[in-house]
Symmetry: C2
Subunit: 398 residues, 2 copies
């Protein structure tokens, strides 16, 4: 994975030291080094066609991002779906995909009391009689959900205490459903580990440069667009939006000032025909990070097909679509350079476990570094509690 | 469709007069009044299983929004897919869905020279030997694509000159694929017409209040979040992002100043676990519009299912999911009210053609009114031309 920056900033070595100190307390840093034996053994023991995750937010977005990315190319025989909304029509449509004896369910909730997930669990329990064979629990140690799982004698996987939901994709939360599908989770972790090692050995200081730049120009550029040039990265964009928005949109610890960066997920070339106009000619309040895939490993090619009256587009003939999308990407980069927005490019080698593992770790690190400089807690989400409280009041009056 | 506003603004009747004057020049205003006979007759004459649109941006987002919304509930026998990217893997995956003799293709391009769409057309022509039976053209009068269509003796539908791509969903661009699927396009237009008539007769001045408010507080609230409480509105969010971002992100006609509002599409309850934290505790630079569906026409209910150790969530028992998602929506509204953000609620009656037709017209009107006050041209997109020019240079050197 390469990452070329088109803006200059000085580098501060002590960022690495700060991150290193924080890594003793914050769990995501060390997830690449975990032992995956239990997860792999468990996945091997299961013969299923469909893996259905009951989870929302941090309990679903990470696995969905990685699955969508890899499945676009690999077409796994086992499919992964997510019950991630209380929308009744969406629930019903997903139930229609389930073959009772060929499906394993994973209920994932860090707190163990997520309203959306438990309400769906209750409904599905009626249909599928959950038991040790078809339901797995992933939750915090000692959560009410764990205790419920114990009364049903279910297999339970824990989320480490010091790993927040939106940083949990490289725990059992993401690894177990992905391993069940057939994703090589050790390669995924290896990708993250490569990034981690590069960063901590001082060989990947682009992350630090970006973090410093974002914070320094916080008052000018408060929106951060991620322009991903592949449909396969749509899920990754959503994961990024949660990570960035929920971690950095927060009151400053010292001042209680409301601050935050706004994440925007875009897909090229589709959003060249949508959001790009706003970036080019709207307010200059946005940074742009372009993600491109170096090798799509795909030879689909525009044929030597001459269309009468469309000769002006004969220049498309014999171009591989993989080259065309990357030419479009490069053209967008050039156009963005011309309007002087802070711009950087991340290039992934290919659609592989290593690539996405590295990308995930890159963004977790970047988030952590920005939060440290802004003096905010990147690992809580106090702003969503009020809505939950209001809902519980409404329900108890029901 | 009701729309309750939680912020106050004065009302200016002459907005209606301005819009009325503009409607002689700008085509979208009068689309609800069109004659759909040719489209309906044509759709009736076709017996297919799959409708495949080759189109990007304004040529796909509108039909996709309406199809996703209605199909979530109606499960049409005929499916609609979109070739809307040059991503080779995405193209290949869509080709795998096609049954050769049961599919009709629509090539949609306003200019008739859209690189993405023509390159895909060339590729698919090799596989499916396009002819009058399996390919329809929708384009501007006298475009190169129309002339190509004539040489192949294809059926051609026109996009009115005075309707821009992102305002074209209620022309053949949206109506033809939707009619082929089985959507009642007259009801769709009726929904738009109801909104239009209410507005021009002075009975729907919330749109004016909102437009005035947005422009007045432009320097404070430059981001506009659309928080849609139904998975079925995901496509609508993308349509909104294009409409709002591409229409309003622009240089001011008088000053050449770069201005613009940033659209954000969110889905509840999923994004309560993601973006909501940023709205609640991040910068106060956002307005929020919540869309809720009054009647999901669905009785899925959390059963009387007591889970040991999860008794605290027994309050979920016997609640319909349709009520639960709307309680979550109302709780989010209450929480947002407490932080004093400009907030308004749009309530759709149900998942129906009338509802989505009205909603589309609502947003087109709102966009037009905001643009008039900002003194910008809502109907062009000059900012995307540079990237296109760079791409053509790259290709001709290839």
């Amino acid at each position: 994975m390469t990452n070329d920056l088109f803006f200059d900033e000085f580098i501060a070595k002590d960022f690495i030291r700060q991150a290193s100190i924080q890594s003793h307390r914050i769990g995501f840093y060390n997830l690449p080094d975990q032992d995956t034996t239990r997860i792999l053994d468990f996945a091997k023991s299961k013969d299923v066609e469909l893996i259905a995750v009951i989870g929302i937010g941090g309990s679903s977005l990470g696995a969905e991002a990685i699955y969508n990315f890899l499945n676009s190319k690999n077409h796994y025989a086992r499919k992964l779906i997510f019950f991630d909304s209380t929308d009744p029509i969406s629930i019903q449509n997903k139930i229609n995909l389930i073959k009772k004896d060929r499906t394993i369910f994973l209920i994932i909730s860090k707190s163990g009391t997520t309203v959306e997930s438990i309400s769906i669990l209750k409904y599905l329990d009626q249909l599928f009689n959950f038991n040790r064979e078809n339901l797995i629990v992933i939750t915090d140690k000692n959560s009410p959900l764990e205790k419920f799982g114990e009364t049903r004698n279910l297999e339970i996987f824990h989320i480490p205490d010091n790993v927040g939901g939106r940083y949990s994709v490289l725990t059992a939360v993401g690894l177990l459903p992905l391993a069940l599908v057939g994703v090589n989770i050790n390669s995924l972790l290896q990708g993250a580990k490569n990034l981690k090692n590069s960063f901590f050995s001082g060989n990947y200081d682009q992350i630090i440069q970006k973090a410093i730049y974002y914070v320094k120009y916080y008052n000018i550029y408060s929106l951060n667009c991620l322009f991903s040039y592949s449909e396969s990265l749509r899920g990754f964009n959503s994961w990024y939006v949660q990570l960035w928005g929920e971690s950095l949109g927060k009151r400053q610890l010292s001042s209680a000032l409301k601050i935050g960066f706004t994440p925007i997920g875009l897909i090229g070339p589709t959003d060249q025909h949508s959001f790009l106009q706003l970036i080019m000619e709207g307010r200059t309040d946005k940074t742009v990070t372009v993600i491109k895939i170096k090798d799509f490993e795909n030879n689909l090619t525009v044929p030597e097909n001459r269309f009468k009256n469309l000769e002006s587009l004969d220049m498309l003939n014999n171009i591989k679509f993989a080259d065309l999308i990357n030419m479009q990407c490069d053209s967008t980069i050039k156009a963005l350079e011309s309007v002087n927005l802070p711009l950087d490019v991340i290039e992934l080698e290919s659609i592989s476990e290593e690539s996405i593992g590295g990308l995930i770790y890159y963004y977790e690190l970047l988030t952590a570094l920005v939060a440290m400089q802004l003096n905010i807690n990147a690992y809580d989400q106090p702003g969503v509690e009020l809505g939950k409280k209001i809902l519980k009041n409404k329900m108890s009056k029901n």
